[in-house]
Amino acid sequence: MSKKLVYIYRSFERFWHWMQAILIFFLAFTGFEIHGSYQFFGFREAVRYHNIAANMLIGLVVFAIFWHLSTGEYKQYIPTFENIKAQLNYYIFGIFKNAPHPTKKTVLSKLNPLQKIVYFGLKIMVIPLSLTSGLLYMFYRYPTKHGVEAINIETLEIIAIAHTIAAIFLIIFIVTHLYLITTGETITSNLRAMLMGYEEIEDSGKVNVTNENLSTQKLE
């Protein structure tokens, strides 16, 4: 089998990924300062920056949702239990024996089953939890007075704790994600693919991947 350089992450996808990475990192950094874990910017500035970054992230998420829906890329994230054991086995045993990756990356299926489950979880649980609690935090008004009477929340406590829980999950994800980047074909191949868009993929010979074939029609 030969290897071929394939254009796997398109420019919007890469932009979205890195923008999201920067924003989430920055939000975590300012967020935990607001949380009281340390002092860096000072509370007031931390809140200001956090709010700006949050608005940017919301904008980005809106774009990303549109992109995923309009290109059909969302289908990449529909979880599958097929091969999940093999993928787990790979990370727990195979990786130490230099065994091959159990899931072949293709343009049509870039994610392995573990990634699918985790990213799916992020997209439908953690990010929504983080964004809704964050929005409530931002637009929360103290009980009734002058506020949005419909959202009359007795206490900020539940909102704040939900927001913290989401943040902790995101941090755990990022830490793990950063490590798993190194488990590609070579230590840097995944990182390079996400930066440049191209990755060397084993050519199965069946599909001759050219730029024309990147069309999303193939997904349906």
Binding site: I34, H35, G42, F43, K97, R141, K145, H146, E154
Partner: protein
Amino acid sequence: MKKVVLILSFIAFLIIVAIGTLSQKDEEPTTMMKLREKFSKSEKLSVDHSQFSVLQKKFNSPQEVTKACETCHNKSAEQIMAGNHWNWEREEYVEGRGIIYLGKRNAINNFCIGTTGNEQSCAKCHIGYGMDSEGKVYTDKENIDCLICHDNSETYAKANEQGGAPVSTLDFAKIAQSVGKPKRSNCGVCHFYGGGGNNVKHGDLDMAMFEPTKELDVHMGTDGMNLVCVDCHQAEQHNISGKLYSLSSMNRNRACCENCHTAAPHDDDILNEHTLKVACQTCHIPIYAKANATKMYWDWSTAGKLKNGEPYTEEDSMGNHAYMSIKGTFKWEKNVKPDYVWFNGTASHYLRGDVIKDTSKTLVLNQLHGSYADDESKIYPVKIHIAKQPYDPVNKILIQPKLFAEEKGEGAFWKDFDWNTASEIGMKNAELPFSGKISFIETEMYWPVNHQVASKENVVQCNECHTRNDSRLAGLKDFYLPGRDSSSIVDTLGKWLLILTVLGIFAHAVLRIYSVRKLKKEVVK
């Protein structure tokens, strides 16, 4: 070509937005600009009292001056005699108690305790002449003291212990001709010295406020806007706005910051949002008692010690009384950080004769009402004055002792230093039972911190409250405050989850490196 059009239209859009936002700022005058303009105008008086013939004569008594005033201001007496500066009490509705009359006449505080039986001395701060304990003064309009509030010559002074009469050597004609709107000195001569000395009671009102600097009080600073008391405490028909909750239970007739500054005066929305739950004073008065120390603690139980049969005083390092035989032991503090409470404008008071429910606890004399959950409540800064004061352990009521008398032998504590007779006479005056037993109970009194507002550069910063340790609001635990509060379960679980993740990654990485080396060796073999 398409690109050029796009870029050009984008740049044009940016320019329009920039011009729009920049030009907006110049046009609308802000509230602050309007206020500055309003208070920089010097007032032109409509009346010069020195030219009235009725005031161009020799006055033999202050009552003659009052009569002269009343020849023109012939209905003012009715306004005065309906007010609390005259009556020393107000009609108040208190939930659970109904309508009560509350004021200096009958309240118990934890400074000099109360006026009953001590009127001759206390009346130095009554806007009338010749008060005696029988209350005769309250019906006689010639005894209204117009001058204490309206003297603008700054020479008028009331005499000590004369039931409110002025010093007899004054030039009444000169004073009468000077009258006008009350100055800082008119108000301050009583309100700065409440409790028997400079800054004893309030903490934010003291003699430095006669001629304050901007640094001491941003509004009243003579080097700044130079406001006087009545600029904020405006009066209608001699009823002056602004009430002290140490003596008032209802939320009415307030002098508020919002009256001038609006309810949302900040540029920053987040700060404006704070005003729903945080009073202006909370952030804008970071410390009080900036110029002179204020009394924080008063222990009556040590009073009465004599040296060679004579009363004496001791001073602390700041030069304030630390001990007085007539009053006991004091603690003073300067540059004090306020305490903070929820307050919705209403308070309940310990009234003379109230039975103390639990004598083992500190008794709060003016409990401020409020909580986070209450819509009307905001966080307010307060001074808390703590005292140990006499009470009757059998009847469980606070004692109103007779403190002042002109001569020894009348049973007054300040002359005879005997708690028993002073209490017996005092309680009889107040028409209250007395068992003959005296004990001391710790009491707390709340005082508003409203003055000595800092300039905007010196206000309380976000992280003084929003902080884990030593938050200014550490005492208010009934709500979640970002930066101060967190769920310890979530934080601990999160921390361990992160540690375990990092450890897992580390172990995995070490195993990977090890296995790669092993595989390489095998390949070499």
